[in-house]
Amino acid sequence: MPDEVSVSLTINGRARRLDIAPWTSLLDLLRLQLDLTGTKKGCDHGQCGACTVLIDGRRMNSCLQLAVMQEGREITTIEGLAEGGRLHAMQAAFIERDAFQCGYCTPGQILSAVALIEEGRAHTRDEIREYMSGNLCRCGAYPNIVDAVVDVLAAGGVTMKEAAA
């Protein structure tokens, strides 16, 4: 059996040093080794987006990332968004807009939406939908998810444009 690898990384602001088997995905590390079960396993093949986390601020599918490759990286999961008991604006907007039904895709949707705001490229509902296309919602809450993202963009001073006719 190949050896475990010692990896140092930061998860939700906390530095950790872990021994990791090379075939462990970042998703399984979070859920099974660290009990951070907010990040969901949907398809486990990078197709649904339920496992979306931020790695050094960039959104990625944690199911396709090997944990041993995260040396020195900063990982943010849904558990790391709220600060001092205060929900992140995107979490609050999802509640306000009822942007979920069963909730299974929600952590991934929220992380993806947080990154979308940071990327700063979405200025129309069409653009929000396109840039959220890596997150599937089996319940079909898409209109309300877009509403939640629009709210957070607007609160940040972004004026939404009408899509071209």
């Binding site: 050896d3 690898v5 995905s25 486990d44 599918n61 396709l64 396109e130």
Partner: protein
């Protein structure tokens, strides 16, 4: 996933040596395709060599009047690089037509070149597949073949190459730079991917012990920065592989075409070009008659199977439409998917 050893290479030399030393080793960077294939047991490497910490391969640099994109540059960073957007917007557009923001953030330039087909039989280890297990047969030929090739296929394999980025690179006549134990060499994009023939298990001309280091975009391809398009047709508007895609770059002289480059995706084992179709457009007025003649040449010899016959007509129409978009200077939007 199989059990494997992990090596983090600190330099290109170290990665090349590690790869040469272990015939069952594979290079990993973004992991978006390889890790997925490992989960399906399609790939079972004994060792992964992580190249993501090698310095110097993660930059886009000026080179001979063009740009040299390091193999580790993520797809997102290529698509939104100001120099790429300005000089090679066809490449930026093609990248944004593919995958999702999450995948484009992880996927690298080198990995995109080396991704494997999405043929369902290749992914399903319960079925035979000449690409996965040479000599076992190709169930796609007489099976479900809606997404399969209409050009350049063989009786042994009718898989397509799934990349959007590579279709643009073919049209832009990029060069792939690789390094191996014998040193560095450059491979023209047209020769990088190969047709299946009787060796469908070999996707590219990259040797087993070589590593992609960069993709170079030639200065001349900047001439297509105004008149270009990447038109991708698929079963849903986002996050689906192309049934047919067309990358076009035109250099216009008023209403006539001075120089044309056309590459097709979703139709063959490699981005499909026909230089005679491109040459036929040179000096011609940019009209439907000329576009249709080019489409006829590009699709010469096209052969459909039970479920993908539709691709031949779809490709013909897509080529004509894409040439029209490029000539008019109105490239396909990758956000608003309406085809104009």
């Amino acid at each position: 996933m199989n059990r494997f050893s992990y090596t983090r290479a600190a330099s290109l030399d170290e990665a090349v040596r590690a790869l040469a030393a272990d015939a069952a080793a594979k290079i990993v960077a973004g992991g978006t395709n390889l890790v997925d294939l490992m989960k399906y047991n399609v790939e079972r490497p004994a060792r992964l060599i992580d190249v993501t910490r090698i310095t110097g391969l993660d930059r886009i640099e000026e080179s001979d009047g063009g740009l040299r994109i390091g193999a580790l540059v993520p797809n997102t960073n290529v698509a939104y690089d100001a120099r790429v957007e300005e000089r090679y917007p066809l490449l930026a557009s093609a990248i944004l037509a593919g995958a999702t923001p999450q995948l484009r953030n992880a996927a690298t330039t080198g990995g995109n070149l080396n991704q494997r087909t999405r043929c369902y039989y290749f992914y399903d280890t319960e079925t035979p597949c000449n690409k996965r297990e040479p000599g076992t047969g190709c169930p796609a030929v007489s099976g479900v073949n809606r997404i399969h090739a209409i050009l350049g296929a063989s009786e042994h394999c009718i898989a397509t190459h799934p990349s959007d980025m590579c279709v643009a690179l073919a049209a832009l006549e990029a060069t792939v730079h690789v390094a191996g134990p014998g040193g560095a060499r450059a491979i023209p994009m047209a020769e990088y991917h190969r047709l299946p023939g009787d060796r469908p298990e070999i996707d590219t001309t990259l040797k087993r012990d070589e590593i992609v280091t960069a993709v170079a975009l030639p200065a001349e391809a900047q001439a297509f920065r105004t008149n270009y398009t990447y038109l991708k047709l698929r079963d849903r508007l986002s996050y689906a592989f192309a049934l047919v895609s067309v990358a076009v770059g035109l250099e216009m002289d008023g209403g006539s075409i001075r120089r044309a480059r056309i590459a097709l995706g979703g139709v063959a084992h490699k981005p499909w070009r026909r230089t005679d179709a491109e040459e036929r457009l040179a000096g011609k007025a940019a009209d439907r008659q000329a576009f249709a003649a080019a489409a006829d040449l590009l699709l010469e010899g096209a052969k459909g199977y039970e479920h993908n016959e539709f691709k031949i007509d779809l490709a013909r129409r897509a080529i004509v439409r894409a040439l029209g978009q490029a000539a008019a200077g109105t490239p396909q939007s990758q956000v608003d998917k309406r085809i104009r």
